[in-house]
């Protein structure tokens, strides 16, 4: 197989402001990276907030994190890593011009994205039922609410259940932990949803042989976005689910 990137038809048009196709494609990728840099800044501020309060209230953050299901988080990490691998393959097949394989890889990525959201729903559902969502009904270290049962917990297979821990620490600071947890994982979830929309749009455009898709670059750009979503989760997982004592 040749190492040259396959082109559809006559290949992409080189616009007048570019010297050649390499320069044009480079500028697409740089454009995507500058968007991703704004995303790094956006999440960076949240990671800073996390660091600050974790440093101030380490004891309570440790206690509060024990309520999170690290097995579900780990499963989600696996799902996202696998989807990232699939996107890498999708870009690979797009470059080789193998459209069918590319669509299969993008489809598997889409399934992983939905799987991620389903797992997240189980986690969020249990947190709502245990009064750990930081709204007016928030309650921490209160035996009455702590003992409350949640369908979202009961419905899990035994292998995914974790042992119940006492809610330790200051409820006020625990509330802060859950605020940061829901903000960061919620925003990450929003990115997953945007990713789902982007991947679906890309698949439809490829399927209908849209003139917008002349080469592998749209897949590459959506892929960069999806890898970024994976990247954020790579840090969220150890920071929220695996806090050492």
């Amino acid at each position: 197989m040749s190492d040259h990137v396959a082109k559809h038809g006559d290949g992409p048009e080189v616009y007048f402001q570019y010297e050649d196709i390499d320069q044009q494609q480079e500028s697409y990728v740089v454009g995507m990276w500058s968007f991703l840099v704004t995303e790094v800044m956006f999440f960076g501020a949240l990671f800073l907030i996390y660091t600050l309060y974790r440093w101030k209230f380490h004891g309570t953050f440790f206690g509060a994190h024990e309520q999170l299901n690290w097995k579900m988080g780990g499963l989600n990490t696996m799902v996202l890593l696998f989807s990232s691998v699939m996107v890498a393959f999708a870009v690979h097949f797009a470059q080789k011009g193998k459209t069918n394989k590319q669509l299969v890889c993008l489809g598997v990525t889409l399934l992983c994205a939905f799987g991620f959201l389903v797992i997240k729903t189980f986690e969020y559902g249990a947190k709502f039922d245990h009064h750990l969502f930081p709204n007016h009904s928030f309650s921490y270290a209160d035996p009455e609410h702590h003992e409350s049962k949640s369908w979202w917990d009961e419905a899990l297979p035994a292998a995914l259940k974790i042992e119940k821990h006492e809610q330790e620490g200051n409820p006020k600071n625990a509330r802060l932990f859950y605020s940061i947890y829901f903000t960061m994982t919620g925003l990450h979830g929003l990115h997953v949803i945007i990713g789902i929309i982007a991947i679906t749009a890309l698949m439809v455009l490829i399927k209908i042989r849209s003139p917008l898709i002349t080469d592998y670059i749209p897949t590459e750009l959506v892929g960069l976005y999806w890898h970024f979503v994976d990247l954020v989760w790579i840090f969220l997982y150890p920071l929220f689910y695996l806090i050492p004592r």
């Binding site: 800044m41 960076g44 790579i234």
Partner: protein, 137 residues
């Protein structure tokens, strides 16, 4: 195309091609590395034997080091920065340099007590009242 005049893009390319194809073998090796590191991070956090498990800072550093290793694999290979042109590299690295520069702000928080600010709760408080510097909990 570029057969007329000089090609200024050579300056930014540094011998790289914007459209480098990652081989299937590389994708699979990197995937193996990512899953191995994921297992390692869970193993280090959950199944670490007791004397080590209690060392907060080394354990946190270990978890973050593994996360950074995974991030490097994704950024260098899957996001193609390793094979990217110099222009792509400077944008990509710029973002992460910015990310670490943000944490310089911790110098302020770690050396100065917080001013209490009125919140929506009845008692005057903030997430970081003044005495938390001495008594964090």
């Amino acid at each position: 195309m570029a057969d007329h005049g000089h090609d200024h893009s050579e300056m930014t390319k540094g011998g790289a091609h914007a459209n480098h194809i990652l081989s299937e073998r590389t994708i699979l090796i990197v995937a193996g590395g990512l899953f191995f590191l994921m297992a390692l991070t869970i193993g280090a956090a959950i199944y670490m034997p007791e004397p080590f498990k209690g060392w907060t800072i080394p354990m946190q550093c270990l978890a973050l080091a593994i996360a950074v290793a995974k991030a490097c694999l994704v950024v260098y290979y899957y996001m193609g920065v390793k094979f990217g042109t110099r222009l792509i590299k400077i944008f990509a690295y710029g973002g992460f340099v910015w990310f670490f520069m943000l944490f310089i702000m911790m110098i302020d928080y770690t050396t100065r007590p917080m001013e209490p600010v009125p919140g929506w709760e009845k008692q005057t408080s903030s997430a970081l009242p003044r005495d938390t510097v001495k008594n964090p909990e």
